[in-house]
Symmetry: C2
């Protein structure tokens, strides 16, 4: 039996960041992970899909380069070499995963290779080895995709990791799902030249987010050539293809599962953790119902986002060190890569209406922003929603080339409970895309300058 | 004689934004401008140079696309068609200038074409016409480049507007200057394939900014093939070429003037305005020494930046309307487009040292940022400087692909007097470039996660 202060089960963005911070704060820490470091996000999620999307997007930029005065590109000759894009992606994944390993060791964290199975609240079995957590156990076992939608079509329903290990692109494929993962996968396939369909049970894409975003995404995917089948299910398959519940024949080689994700709890039977709607129940500091056992990341169902998990990891370790800084889950940004990007934080317009909160709206289109015009990328907008009486920013929803970087301005504004006019008073550099934040913020009080 | 509440002289980013805001607040407003709307920035500065830089940068991206798995580009065939890039640039400039005209009219502002010459504090002559400002006169006459450095070489020293009207690129050219305008011009020429030199009297580039930025810029320009001649002057010319003061022969067709700028005061003789180091002296609300006369923008020498001028324009009009919101010139961001971009706000390390302010430094390189790795653009860094005792953010200096958008997070953090740990507590989306802000902020207290 080896003794530690803290034992972390799971090396994804929740667990590995908790490990680094625990090491920084001087705790004797073990991090248990069976696979490569970085979990779903780094190995089969955010990072590999974005690496491939960047390649696919570069192809579009090369094809459209004549618009910018760049000549000599033979549009018919230029194409995405999938094998090369895969090689690049795998190199990046390996480099970043090794980087995480390095960071753990640098901070004095012991990496234990294997599947961690808690025996009780202080003991974790890894194969033959028993590891003891004297201060706390931090669970970060993550999530896996819900595969039930594909049961009717058997082997032609594949998971993302299987898709990422294909050496050749299919001629045609479908994606199942309605969330960020699904819409990014559909765009990736379409931009890479695959005949692509998106099938979802939900009638609306990104239903959890502001409705303007979902509507924009539907247009974006259609423009990229994706056929949308919303409000449908996968009904059956035969040698002619895959059939939806309305008897539509999907002429595709396979369907990639981009469904919502379920918590991975299979190794936790000995702990008898209280659950909440299927996820592990936690308090604001990540404490589970079992004393000394914390849970962070997807298994808690709080954000299902890598950065949400990391914030929870830091919060849990901070709490162990006596620092009480809960994660404000209402102020965690979402980021989706559809070239342009989507980023959003806070409340949607429909939620404000449902809750009966009086609000004001500022809207600014990228067509009226100089930098967007200069870059030749004017598809998009910024929408700022603020509370009517005092003007506090309640939600920001962005479609823009650098939306995922722009959203951090909104995140800090909201963390500090700024009003829209506080944002509007900040001098924003010209010409930049971030001026759209200024304009939309001023727009909540009809003070937009450039529209 | 036509009567107005407010008469604005000059249609650049200071004057035209003042016009829009004055119209919004219900003031009867006239805006006097002899040239196209938008002033230097829109017609011969930020906008046209950035339009051409975007084209030149796209060429680089096309050439490097094989790194991303995009194949079929013939590197020898692909080139920048300068005529096409110019056409695109002129179309953008015309569109944006028309847009400003539209915005003025939409807000009820009367546009008066011509050179405005104040006769006294309430009357402006435009040709034969006399215009009366009953409430206030707002001067926004802008700046012009200092051309003294080129006197020794006569006609081969050309201004930016002359350069932008050339239909063909020279084989070789030099740029004079050490500031943002000069370094951007030098990069533009080099990326477009011109043999380029940069000559400056200053030994350091961007001497007003954090020294790390100037050092990085020197490397960036050298990498793009620019020859640097620092601490030199233009001494003479003959048929063999242009000579520097150390007898170096510059084998270039001409030198473009990218020097610092001087205020345009030639039409203001009747007003007897008090000056401060050659610029018009103003109080925190833009009031000059003459009652009822405001001055904004470059002529006041406060920022020499378009967005600084716009903020001053709004501040002056607000003041007229009884709203007292002075521009905080210490919190105006700078933005420079060198692909990657540079953005900076607040105090530099050398200023902190000069002033004896104890500070902490957080530094994060783009090589350790996932999104930068995904985009294949890892050249750059974020440096956060915070006050030692309480941790307030005092300066942020960024080199990164979207630095000019990222800086707005720092701007709002500083406006709200946040500490570096306040920024570090904001959940930043992953994977994004803005995570570097989080990391560098945490770095001020040795709490960086990914390094």
């Amino acid at each position: 039996m080896t003794d530690y202060d803290v034992v972390i089960v799971g090396g994804g963005p929740g667990g590995y960041v908790a490990g680094i911070r625990a090491g920084q704060l001087g705790m004797k820490t073990a991090l248990i992970e069976a696979g490569p470091m970085g979990g779903m996000c780094l190995n089969w999620g955010c990072i590999p899909t974005k690496a491939l999307l960047e390649s696919a997007w570069r192809l579009q930029q090369v094809r459209r380069s004549a618009d910018m005065g760049v000549v000599g590109v033979d549009k018919n000759a230029v194409r995405l070499d999938w094998a090369k894009a895969l090689t690049r992606m795998r190199r990046i994944v390996a480099r970043l995963s090794k980087g995480v390993e390095y960071l753990e060791k640098k901070n004095g964290v012991t990496l234990v290779k294997g599947r961690g199975e808690p025996q009780d609240l202080k003991t974790v079995r890894v194969g033959e080895e028993m590891i003891r957590a004297n201060k706390a156990l931090i669970l970060a076992t993550g999530s896996r995709p819900d595969s039930t939608a594909g049961q009717a079509i058997g082997l032609r329903f594949i998971e993302i990791d299987a898709f990422l290990s294909l050496e050749e692109l299919p001629g045609s494929a479908a994606v199942w799902g309605h969330g960020p993962v699904a819409v990014e996968l559909a765009l990736l396939l379409a931009l890479a030249g695959v005949k692509t369909a998106l099938v979802s049970a939900e009638k609306k894409l990104l239903p959890a987010l502001d409705a303007d975003l979902g509507k924009w995404v539907a247009k974006r995917l259609k423009k990229a050539g994706v056929t949308l089948h919303a409000g449908r299910s996968l009904a059956r398959e035969d040698e002619t293809g895959i059939y939806l519940d309305d008897s539509t024949l999907l002429d595709v080689e396979f369907v990639v599962n981009g469904a919502e994700r379920l918590p991975v709890l299979s190794s936790l039977n000995n702990l008898d953790l209280e659950l909440d709607q299927g996820f592990v129940k936690i308090d604001p500091f990540g404490r589970t119902s079992v004393e000394g056992v914390y849970a962070v990341g997807d298994m808690t169902g709080k954000t299902m986002l890598a950065h949400g998990a990391s914030a929870q990891g830091i919060c849990a370790v901070n709490h162990l060190a006596g620092i009480e800084e809960p994660v404000d889950f209402d102020r965690v940004p979402w980021n989706i890569y559809l070239y342009p990007e989507i980023a959003t934080i806070g409340l949607s317009e429909q939620t404000l209406e449902e809750r009966g909160i009086e609000y004001e709206k500022g809207f600014f289109p990228l067509t009226a922003n100089s930098k967007a015009v200069l870059q030749g990328e004017t598809d998009g907008f910024v929408k700022v929603l603020s509370e009517k009486k005092y003007g506090e920013v309640l939600g920001v929803h962005i479609v823009a080339p650098h939306a995922t970087d722009m959203i951090s301005e909104a995140a800090i504004a909201m963390q500090l409970e700024s009003t829209a006019l506080d944002v509007g008073r900040v001098v924003h550099a010209h010409p930049t895309l971030s001026e759209t934040m200024l304009e939309a913020s001023l727009g909540t009080r009809d003070l937009t300058i450039h529209m």
